[in-house]
Amino acid sequence: MLQYIDIGPGDIALALVLVGITLAISLWQHLDLHGDLLVGSVRAFIQLMAVGYLLQLIFNLNRWYLVVLALVIMLLVAAGNAYRRQQERWPQLFFVMLLAIGCGGLLTLTIVIAVVLKVKPWYQPQYIIPLAGMIVGNAMVGAALAVNRLTGEIKAHRDAIEVALALGATARQAIIPYLRASLRAAMLPTVSTMMTVGIVQLPGMMTGQIIAGASPAAAVKYQIVVTYMIAAATALTTITATLTAYRYYFTPNHQLKPPLKNTAA
């Protein structure tokens, strides 16, 4: 095993030199970057320190209910975030997001923890917390993209949807071309990452493992599992989200509801 270099407070301060250089250039060239950059640097520091201590606490206590609590909070925050990113919001949409990220995320997480890695006990924070973080984060982005695209498609293609309905299509049959387009759009980032992983970029988790002392051969195996896991979670979440969300736009009698009034962002 290779040597692992621990980072001390002074080392972090030295890393700030990197930010300092860009701040200086921004001020010198009047690029107006320094405000955002400064706030971002401070926020990143505070957030990461806070989450670091919180995770340390969960790791030390090692209780299943604390892990479950952390998962629940992750899901709620992710659903809220996916909801807020929508151009068109309606009250039940938050719960659609929660359901989709919950179903897609938990199913994938369960399989990875229980079947692939066979973690015992299942709630070992070292495994479940980082894996859940990656799953929920990707599922959130996928769900937000997919539903945003779907509502946009419905708005743009009301005519064609009603033509299909008038020809005897069910709401589901009328919407399916737009559902497919939304899923493709939402899966595009994940799929293109899968296509280029290891060639164009080294994933953060793998890099982290290597720095922490794992051999590249071992890290790569984890990365393969994680790549499949993220693809599955994103796909399951976006499918659940779009298949649930489209129903809101139709009446039970397969009629397209009139356009929403509050379409403000």
């Binding site: 005519d159 064609a160 009603e162 033509v163 299909a164 309905l165 008038a166 020809l167 005897g168 299509a169 069910t170 049959q173 071309p177 009698n253 397969h254 009629q255 397209l256 009139p258 009034k261």
Partner: protein, 253 residues
């Protein structure tokens, strides 16, 4: 006397009012409509814009439901009919063809394929229907988007006819077309009525079109029927003063 196809009793429709400043949240689109449409007749629905013409059509195949009142088809309440059967029996064509991506053949066989008709039989239907609407079978394999707008509108008519409807609803079917293509669609409507016995209800803003093909005229304004009766009488001796204004192009919406 022809059999009653549609009967509307006290039909009213309100919709959320997008322009309202908050005083009244809904706009009255149709107000207590009472009328009948007879089998095998061509009815022209006319009136200034915003009169509720398109909305009236949308109630007949249940793309929307009225707030109050009842509509029957052959004596059966629309709400008691299977929605998919109803929409196949009552076909609709819009101002714009709105063809689906894909070939002309795929468009025409969309309805039959939904009904589970095998591809070969659906293709045979498409071949027959493209001729019914006056186009040649060579067009079947062309991308629908490559056709002229007039041809596309005929394809959209063939697509609707593929469901073998009893009633055709046409919402300003010629207003996106040039005069020749428009005249062709009108001839086609008259032809379909006489050959297939279709009941046709079409919205038009051109009294001339109604004069050419309609048996009956229904004039709407602000969601109410102003005059309804035989086309001949409507054009020669309109009863309502507003009908005379409309025929002179002076009835405002």
């Amino acid at each position: 006397m022809n059999k009653v196809k549609f009967e509307l009793k006290d039909v009213s429709l309100e919709r959320p009012d997008c322009n309202s400043t908050g005083k009244r949240p809904t706009a009255i689109i149709l107000n207590r409509i009472n009328t009948v449409f007879l089998q095998g007749q061509i009815t022209a629905v006319m009136g200034p814009s915003g009169a509720g013409k398109s909305s009236l059509l949308r109630l007949l195949n249940r793309l929307e439901d009225p707030g109050t009142g009842s509509i029957t088809l052959d004596g059966a309440n629309l709400k008691d009919l299977n929605i998919f059967t109803l929409r196949r029996r009552v076909g609709m064509v819009w101002q714009l063809p709105t063809l689906f991506p894909g070939t002309v053949a795929a468009n025409i066989s969309y309805g039959p394929r939904l009904r589970g008709i095998p591809p070969v039989a659906a293709a045979t239907m498409a071949r027959k229907l493209i001729q019914t609407v006056g186009l040649t079978a060579e067009l079947l394999d062309r991308p629908a988007a490559s056709l002229s707008i007039g041809q596309q509108q005929r394809v959209s008519l063939a697509r609707t006819l593929a469901n073998e409807p009893e009633v055709l609803l046409l919402d300003e079917p010629t207003s996106a077309l040039d005069p020749t293509a428009a005249a062709n669609i009108l001839h086609l409507m008259a032809d379909l009525r006489s050959r297939l016995g279709l009941t046709i209800i079409f919205v038009t803003h051109l009294p001339e079109q109604a004069r050419q093909v309609a048996d009956r005229v229904l004039l709407l304004s602000h969601g109410e029927i102003i005059e309804s009766g035989p086309a001949l009488q409507f054009f020669t001796a309109p009863r309502d003063p507003r009908s005379r204004l409309f025929l002179n192009g002076q009835l405002e919406g």
